[in-house]
């Protein structure tokens, strides 16, 4: 079973100097937090905010190349969680064939956003992770932490 997820936001994690992509399912009952580095976060935030950078970023190029080839981006799927690492696949339609290509979730999400394609998660991934980690992280977050990255 697959659950469609929407990207609800990007949080900065000052402890790890990283960002967290927050995916939620439609009825807001499940959450999937995915830690990414700054460049991956920036690739996603540009697409979330519909900003066109002055020069094509790597994922813009990725989409242009797929458009040029004539391949359609069907979906991005978060397929597994192994050793705290999420795995994903990008589903493409090219000619009459469907292709499923391994990817980091950050690349899959950055590309899906640019193609306005849906992002799915396998249900077992949602069961494997419980959002305890983020809940704990949010509890530990003190108000002053928010101030540290307001530049």
């Amino acid at each position: 079973m697959m659950t469609q997820m929407t990207i609800r936001g990007l949080l900065f994690d000052p402890y790890n100097n990283a960002y967290i992509i927050i995916l939620r399912d439609e009825d807001n009952s499940d959450m999937l937090p995915i830690w990414v580095d700054r460049s991956e976060a920036s690739a996603i935030s540009f697409a979330m905010e519909n900003l066109a950078p002055p020069r094509p970023m790597t994922h813009d190029l990725m989409k242009t190349i797929l458009d040029t080839i004539g391949a359609k981006i069907l979906s991005a799927v978060v397929t597994d969680l192994k050793d705290n690492t999420y795995l994903a696949k990008i589903h493409l339609l090219y000619g009459d064939s469907e292709y499923s290509i391994d990817s980091r979730p950050s690349d899959a999400i950055a590309l899906a956003l640019r193609a306005e394609a849906p992002v799915f998660t396998k249900e077992e991934v949602l069961h494997k992770q419980n959002s305890e980690e983020v809940a704990r992280w949010l509890e530990d977050l003190k108000p002053e932490d928010f101030g540290t990255y307001e530049a």
Partner: protein, 166 residues
């Protein structure tokens, strides 16, 4: 040298294009950028191009033949092309305006050639993965001129060499 030996499939559109080798990637510890050093076969022409840290890392991994545990974005693009039967035929740094370099990537799609606009960093990262050289126009090497060289040397102060030794 090795990079140049693998150019069998290259499309020679323009005899005036100069194929360059990626000599290395320098880390600039004071800014969040890295410098890709391109040079020609005889070492007479050197072209430094500033790139972002992520792109620089991606170029360095490809240069050193390191396969990261997780595919980087350029590995994913290469994987797309492998699955869909598309190859990168040629990469050309075409222009420089206000210290920004422009590049084009020439693809072979179903036997037809298609060209896409790219940043040089992405173009170089893909060229290395396709094992082809990075071509530049004569004009680029001319325009590079003394101004850029001065700026480059100014950025590379002796104290920074020490800091980049990690």
């Amino acid at each position: 040298m090795e990079e140049l030996e693998n150019t069998g499939g290259i499309v020679e559109h323009d005899a005036t294009l100069i194929p360059l080798i990626v000599h290395g990637v320098l880390v600039d510890p004071n800014t969040d950028t890295q410098i890709v050093i391109l040079r020609d076969e005889t070492n007479t022409e050197v072209l430094p191009i500033w790139v972002g840290a992520t792109e620089g890392t991606s170029i360095r991994l490809a240069l050193e033949g390191i396969i990261p545990p997780r595919p980087m974005s350029h590995d994913l693009i290469t994987s797309f092309m492998d699955h869909l039967g598309t190859t990168v035929k040629q990469v050309v740094v075409t222009d420089v305006k206000n210290n920004t370099y422009y590049a084009t990537i020439h693809l072979s799609v179903n036997g037809m050639e298609r060209t896409v606009d790219a940043r040089p960093s992405d173009a170089i990262a893909l060229a290395l993965r396709a094992k082809i050289p990075v071509c530049v126009t004569q004009e680029i090497l001319k325009q590079r001129g003394d101004e850029n060289r001065e700026a480059w040397l100014a950025k590379l102060e002796p104290k920074q060499f020490g800091q980049s030794e990690a």
